[in-house]
Amino acid sequence: MSDGEKTTEVMLPTGSDLVLSVSPHLSAADSVRRIMYKVLLALIPACVAGIWFFGWRALAVIVVTALFCIGAEALWCRIAGKPVLGTIADGSAALTGVLLALNLPPEIPFWICLVGAFLAIWLGKQVFGGLGNNPFNPALVARVGLLIALPAAMTTWTPPRGMGADSPAAAEFYSPSTLHKLQGKKVGLDSVTHATELDSVTCATPLGVVGTTPKILDKSFEAQQNFQAVDNNEMLWRYFLGIKGGCIGETSILALLIGGILLIAFKLINWRVPICYIGTVAVFTGLVNYFFPGVTPTPLFHILTGGLVLGAFFMATDMVTSPITPTGCIVFAIGCGIITSVIRIWGNYPEGVSFSILFMNALVPLIDRWCGQRPFGYTVKREVAK
């Protein structure tokens, strides 16, 4: 710019377009929508693993359930007179849908997905006032609701890729007749009739096998060997990779861990929560296993089977339904761990993750109240004085 006379006209503000709002006038770049999409991104590895192990049917379940959830949300918003597009765009309905789908068996009929979607979105979320107001995790409300109402459909598991009749411990997971059928294919029977029969091939989950194995209450050799068939190094490795029966999303621990690390990297969850949850289960089952080896398998088995890792990383860390303070989150995680272990070892249900998180959801207001943090500048004495 030349010194001397400045001929360039100075543009002055008119003040006609001023916004009046409270301080602060800046904000961090994150938004609710971004958070939801990031969690969805972190779920992709688990989805991919589910599709790999259970085929296109799993993809269909995921997509259909997510769409049903979005539809249920849209319908509710329409009836309640809320902005439809704005509510759907925040991605929470899609996230609930994907989470619910990952908690369903791969061969679930689609009408059950529809019922689940309405359970999750309407009963689990919108009646409480929508996102942020629901005390219970919507996906878990739907899963538990379906599990209680339709136990047969919700516990019909199909074998994943790589779990053929000749796989290790096949006799544990398949009923004798199923095993027969599977082996029959190897010999090469009539392929047409066989294909239709194979459609109904079902298997048990590792936790299911454990649940039906009679407990041995002493420390004898039989007790030590009680779960040997499903709880050995080779099987654990297979569970870790995902070669086991179960819900779409809970098969591959590897994929879930990748997603979990993504969540931690995005700073969306407190890493202490999954660690505490899994750690509590490990300690609890470890103690029981140490004293009564015939009652429950080793801690590693408990970690690698069932929905524990999925629940610990994606459900117990749900922001809306978990405590707000870091201390509260730890208490919450430990509570989940204890209840999960108790249900798995002694309960009727082979799996307790959903129930435990749902139960702890109900405890959140109390945890929030009792695990609040002391404001800066307060000492215990002063607080009493107040």
Binding site: D17, L18, V19, L20, S21, V22
Partner: protein
């Protein structure tokens, strides 16, 4: 012993024992209670509006029984109800002044300038805490409806960004007066028909810059209707204590230059009939 005898004896014995124990405890833990409080509470309207200055009707009933307040202190009760309470207690009903609230502002979205685009909580108290709110006039109604939400009788409606009171629903409890951050709502005698719809003590020119219907303090009304108006600073006020209140004819006769002196009916009619404000027209 027959079954029947046993049954009768057992029942009678246990009943008797319980009766004795309960009677003993009732004597031991006797609590005195005043039945009159409950009676008065029943006779009160039960709106729990707090217009009397007490925390709800039962609290007020206590104060009536103790003689702290006359029954007429309840702004919601009709004369008959007040008399009933006074009769029940055998006390004097006390003098009653029926009151109504009036929003002393005519500055809706059309009339008063909005200086900035407000972005925040849609509540008058909250908005007034952010640079006094977006309205150009620092004394007028903010029109975000805090009073309307708080009114226990649904007497306040927000029309075009201005609170308007439906006189027939208002009981004069004063809830709105207490919550309004601008102190623009006033309790006036129920029979008053005419009000000055401006609350700004600022100078005329300053008001004119931001509002089309301010009171300019021209004293026309004071001159035309002797004793019925006073001018306080730069704003005229109806003299509600005067023996005679201004009437619709007075308004006609005065012919307020800005139109902020109106009868309540006229004010309501103007606000209701104005075209609905639309976003494009603002500023």
């Amino acid at each position: 012993m027959g079954t029947l005898t046993a049954a009768v004896m057992v029942m009678a014995g246990i009943g008797l024992a319980l009766g004795v124990v309960i009677g003993f405890f009732a004597k031991l833990f006797q609590v005195k209670s005043d039945a009159r409080v409950e009676l008065v509470t029943e006779l009160l309207p039960g709106a729990n509006c707090g217009g009397c200055g007490k925390a709800g009707c039962s609290d007020f009933a206590k104060s009536v029984v103790s003689g702290e307040n006359p029954p007429s202190k309840c702004p919601v009760s009709s004369k008959e109800q007040v008399t009933a309470i006074a009769l029940a207690l055998g006390i004097d009903a006390g003098e009653s002044f029926a009151k109504k609230a009036v929003v002393c502002c005519g500055g809706d979205r059309e009339q008063t300038l909005r200086l900035a685009n407000y972005n925040g909580v849609l509540d008058c108290v909250s908005a007034s805490l952010v640079a006094g709110g977006p309205k150009g006039c620092a004394y007028g109604c903010l029109g975000m409806g805090t009073c309307a939400r708080k009114c226990p009788f649904g007497a306040i409606e927000i029309i075009n960004g201005l609170a308007v009171i439906h006189k027939e629903l208002c009981v004069g409890c004063g809830t709105c007066v207490a919550v309004c951050p601008r102190n623009v709502i006033k309790l006036v005698p129920a029979e008053a028909e005419v009000h000055v719809y401006c609350n700004s003590p600022a100078k005329g020119p300053a008001k004119k810059q931001v509002c089309r219907v301010p009171c300019l303090g021209c004293r026309k009304c004071v001159r035309a209707a002797e004793g019925k108006f006073t001018v306080n600073g730069f704003r005229a006020e109806v003299n509600y204590q005067a023996p005679e209140l201004p009437t619709a004819e007075d308004v006609q006769k005065i012919g307020c230059p800005t139109g902020c002196l109106l009868t309540a009916e006229e004010h309501l009619r103007i606000e209701m009939n104005e075209p609905e404000w639309s976003a494009g027209k603002d500023e």
